[in-house]
């Protein structure tokens, strides 16, 4: 069977010593930043991207992917023990996880979070292996018009699914598209918006931009209030789970895995959305929903499985279509481009070792995570006592040096400073920065495909609605826009995202 030989190829790549080492480093760093509140996977991946320049592309991607799913894993530790989510994707775990910890059941909570994640991660890796090739084959038939419509759909879906104001998210996407086309226009050779600065000819550095938006701006906001973290746990004893509890939690793990796998594939989806949806589902199917919020183990098992599955399947659109579905995937696309790999359906055939190696490494990485998390939980808890006043200057220094080392040029440091100011303003005005990053990465591709489609159709705009695949995607996009604009759903949407805060 082809699938088996592909997986064998992937395992071959993933178990080379260097790839094992970097998978381990990735999940270790991911767990670390997952445990520590105040720094997320987006800023971390941007920070470490320059370090991966010297590595083979597959090794670089294995490490960066490990950071992402490792973070969604590590975030649960903080959520359960400290009543503070280490990551957005663990916000919902706080509700029942911390209640369990207060009742002295931190051990089972941590244990089911780890085992659920392992199970979900393994299933999600299988799903990627099974579904990515057909999707890539379909995408190989795409022409410029289809690609344009696909990107429009991706951007609109990302806006629709993300929380907060839709209008603001649309505007942030548009601004991202605009920033993305700064630099030399490939068709005419004209330098656009470069202000005659030679450093801008290749466009704004996305690593520097990400650091400004996601690290500096965030830090400035965090510094406005005093550090309010406090650790409430004493010793965690009995890191094991009783059979009765396991039996109660296992169906939730299954459902969470299903929800996460599905929602991860959607544009705008990923770890966070999956966790929220899974919690809602668990509450709905439970015989006694009133147990939720009081330490129901399903409220930990479901979302923790879902966020790991979602983190992994969000790689599917990125790997098969070149379409990033969230900010982390936008960075991954950037990483591929830096390594001279044009993301898209051809990656699977032109770089099979990269594709299958990455998937196989997710399996291995999930085992590393369980080993890292369960026996070493004490070390992670200790790390939590590092105060923010020591932590944030370290992040600032790492980002500054990371920005410099992308091109060994101070200009990128200044770019990061400018976007730090913008990032602060955006947070204060309630504008999520993630859509901007998606637009930024897709900007040049969107323009290029729009141009190509219209050259082929001799300027006829109906090309986007006369081709069936393109039409389907635009209809879905329009439907989504209509749905989020409809008052009834708007109200419901606000309720769903109100829980987020």
């Amino acid at each position: 069977m082809e699938l088996l030989s592909n997986i064998a190829l992937g395992l071959d790549v993933a178990i080379t010593p260097i790839n094992l080492l970097y998978a381990f480093v990735g999940v270790l760093v991911g767990t670390l930043i997952g445990v520590l509140p105040g720094i997320g996977p987006v800023a971390t991946i941007a920070m470490l991207l320059p370090v991966t320049y010297g590595l083979p592309p597959v090794t670089a991607l294995i490490m960066l992917a490990g950071i992402y799913y490792g973070a969604s894993f590590g975030g649960s530790t903080t959520a359960i023990l400290v009543n503070l989510p280490g990551e957005m994707s663990s916000v919902i775990t706080v509700i029942d996880g911390h209640q369990m910890a207060k009742q002295g059941r931190a051990g089972p909570a941590l244990c089911i979070a780890a085992l659920g994640s392992l199970f979900a991660g393994s299933v999600a890796a299988l799903v990627i292996a099974a579904f990515a090739p057909p999707l890539a084959n379909l995408a190989l038939k795409f022409d410029a018009a289809e690609y344009f419509s696909l990107m429009v759909l991706g951007l609109i879906a990302a806006v629709a699914i993300a929380g907060g104001s839709v209008l603001k998210a649309v505007l942030m996407t548009l601004l991202g598209l605009l920033l993305g086309i700064i630099g030399t226009d490939v068709n005419s050779g004209v330098s656009r918006f470069t202000f005659d600065l030679p450093e801008l000819i290749d466009g704004i550095g996305f690593v520097a931009m990400t650091m400004g938006l996601f690290a500096f701006g965030e830090i400035a906001v965090n510094l406005e209030q005093a550090d309010r973290r406090s650790i409430v746990t004493g010793r965690i004893s009995g890191l094991w789970i009783k059979w009765a509890e396991f039996k109660q939690a296992f169906p939730a793990v299954l459902r969470g895995t299903g929800v996460g796998t599905l929602l991860g594939i959607l544009p705008g989806g990923g770890a966070t959305l999956s966790a929220f949806a899974s919690y809602a589902l668990e509450k709905k199917v439970a015989k006694d929903p009133s147990r939720f919020g009081k330490g129901a183990i399903e409220g930990v098992a479901g979302p923790e499985s879902a966020n790991n599955a979602g983190a992994q399947t969000s790689f599917i659109p990125m790997l098969t279509l070149g379409l990033p579905s969230n900010a982390v995937m936008a960075l991954m696309v950037g990483a591929l481009i830096i390594h001279d790999i044009q993301p898209g359906p051809q990656v699977m055939t032109s770089n099979p070792d990269l594709f299958w190696g990455l998937i196989a490494s997710m399996w291995i990485g999930n085992f590393f995570l369980v080993i890292l998390n369960l026996p070493m939980i004490g070390i992670w808890v200790k790390l939590l006592s590092v105060p923010y006043r020591l932590l944030f200057p370290l992040i600032v220094l790492a980002c500054t040096i990371g920005a410099f080392s992308t091109n060994n040029n101070m200009f990128d440091v200044w770019v990061a400073m400018v976007f730090g100011v913008l990032g602060y303003i955006f947070i204060k005005l309630g504008c999520e920065p993630a859509p901007l990053l998606l637009g930024f990465i897709l900007g040049p591709m969107l323009e290029e495909n729009l141009r190509r489609a219209l050259i082929l159709s001799r300027g006829d705009f109906t090309v986007f609605v006369t081709r069936p695949i393109s039409l389907t995607m635009l209809v879905i996009a329009a439907g989504l826009l209509f749905l989020i604009a409809a008052p009834a759903i708007r109200k419901k949407r606000q309720i769903v995202f109100a829980e987020e805060r």
Binding site: L178, A220, E224, R389, G430, S457, G459
Partner: protein, 153 residues
Amino acid sequence: MELVRNPKDFLAGLLFMAFGIAALVLSHSYEIGEASRMGPGYFPRVLGILLLGFGAILSLRGLRPTMEPQPQWQWRPLAIVLLGVGVFSLAPWLGVILTSVLLVFISSSASQEFRWKEALVSGAIQAVAVVAIFIYGLGMPLPIWPFFVGGGQ
């Protein structure tokens, strides 16, 4: 009663409109072309118009009543952190050891719980780590020591 009921939306709308206007003004000299043969000015102008239009809608919505609180601006922590980052720009002359310590020290002082001795020690440790990882490990082309003790340009 003030006219602007939701300052967050109102200001955000103005900001996006400003970006839209900037895009339109700056792309003024780029050739538009036509749909079948787009010039470099076509796409930026479309984006500029969309930013201007949607930005205006957002600003107008800011006039509606809402429960949103006023944004509280505190520029001091941001300014101090970015000052620390800016000092690192001098690394080609002052070397990474000194600028790393300064960066950590200055940005630490943005915290309400700033302790200067602790920040100095932490800065020194991090400076050593930077030299080990980025200069020796990854070959980052920056001097270790300032020009006045023999490093730099």
